[in-house]
Amino acid sequence: MEFLPTQIDITKEPMEVGPTCHYVMGGVEVEPDTAAAVGVPGLFAAGEVAGGMHGSNRLGGNSLSDLLVFGRRAGMGAAEYVKSAKAVPVSDAAIKAAAERIQAPFTRSGGENSYSLHAELQEITHNLVGIIRTGAELKEAIEKIAEIRKRSANVSVAGGRKFNPGFHLAFDLDNMLLVAESTAKSAISREESRGGHTRDDFPQLDSKWRQVNHIASFDGKEVTVRKQPLPALPKELFDLFDVHELEKYMTADEIAKGGAR
């Protein structure tokens, strides 16, 4: 069997395989009915960028159904919102500050290379925030991500603004750092293994953790993660399951309550 275009015959030669990112389970916190982002009026998120839809591991094919259902809700939510929304006042100073922030990499010279920082960030998250992680690794990752964040303030790029991938990467880096830091900090807090998150130092599923979501926020300097209780499963859904199935995932307390009424 030959794999084109690598031209490797896997019956004769070894083939290199490795894990790669398939899906991001976390994302923007939204109201489930309207897809409105919590805390940011006027922002709507649906699809992979929205968080919480698929719990700790998305099942195959469920992304497509998510997009269809929540894409529609987001559209309807946004249409409803604009009926009553007023234009958000934006100060000239804020516009100027945003423009300066984006322009800044052009005004520096001899600073950090955005591609190198990106590669280093990839290396850190791949090695330390991968599929199987430990508290010690995550701690190291959080420190290293903070270092990259510091250095990213000094990125300089060459060339002009037109189709300049090095320039795009300079501000994509901010968002990548945000995702990496949120993931690492949520993962270090969650002392159990569940779905796509395996803690080698806490290999068991723990029903108490099922009741908790991690919400990350950013103050411009670093990410803070807080725990937020998950709404209880409504009774009509609870009743659809064989109780012995639910016992694998829920605490004795939750089972005794029999779902939220």
Binding site: P5, Q7, Y115, N164, G166
Partner: protein, 253 residues
């Protein structure tokens, strides 16, 4: 086993441009897109190149490699000789935006000119049914990743800007053929329209489009030629012509 690879990369914009020589490290198993990315990361931070999947499925990284229209992510560095210089240039048939990136909006304009699938008005959501054989018939054309390599290669537009107005191009001939094969589509004159409005008649079946298609779609043999044959048949056979006006025929066989 890294080696030094000599490359010539076209850099410029809509107005001017030139090939630039670079030497870059190439590792075993790498594709041309990998080495372009290495050039970008280490020597030319602002080098424009379009890409997305690195798996031959998004159709973004189309360019010309040693003069041949190809996907950079599916072209092995090892397929060129150790001493050979790899030259990369933007697609020739479309206007350059910057470096290796072209403006392919010609293709989107052509796509808009083709009437979309039209089911019978009384067909309700969830009621559409298709036989497996009908699904399979157009399956080949549905593999298209819209890399537009065929569009870039076709001599009708490659060297004749003036033909772009009246010629939809091979990618859209397979689109028309696919819709024409759809058993529920009610538009009856897709082939005639291909001939009269989308420039099917300008194609002289050189098969260059088929040769460059990374999805190995037999564009000329399975879409263009059968459509041309049917158009000719219908033109000269009044009874069949009448047939097309009365009910949708079964499509190309």
């Amino acid at each position: 086993m890294a080696r030094k690879l000599k490359m010539r990369i076209w850099r410029g914009d809509a107005d001017t441009g030139a090939l630039q020589d670079v030497t870059v490290e190439a590792n075993e198993g790498e594709v041309v897109l990998d080495v372009i990315h290495r050039v970008q990361a280490t020597q030319m931070g602002d080098l424009a190149v379009r890409w997305n999947c690195k798996a031959g499925k998004c159709g973004s990284c189309s360019m010309e490699i040693n003069g041949k229209p190809r996907l950079a992510c599916m072209t092995q560095v090892a397929s060129y000789g150790d001493e050979e210089t790899i030259t990369v240039t933007p697609l020739r048939a479309f206007p350059v935006i910057k470096d290796l990136v072209t403006d392919v909006s010609f293709n989107y304009k052509k796509a808009m000119e083709i009437p979309s699938y039209e089911p019978p008005a009384n067909l309700k959501p969830g009621e559409a049914r298709m036989q497996q054989v009908d699904v399979e018939r157009s399956q080949e054309f549905r593999k298209c990743i819209e890399c537009f390599l065929c569009q870039n290669t076709c001599h009708v537009v490659r060297d004749h800007e003036e033909n772009k107005k009246s010629f939809a191009g091979p990618r859209f001939f397979i689109r028309i053929a696919e819709l024409d094969m759809h058993p529920l589509d009610i538009l009856k004159n897709r082939k005639q329209k291909a001939q009269e409005e989308h420039g099917l008649g300008m194609c002289n079946i050189t098969k260059c489009c088929t040769e460059v298609c990374p999805e190995h779609i037999r564009i000329t043999d399975n879409a263009i030629i059968p459509m041309k044959e049917r158009v000719v048949d219908v033109k000269y056979d009044p009874l069949r012509w009448l047939g097309t006006k009365i009910r949708k025929r079964e499509g190309i066989v």
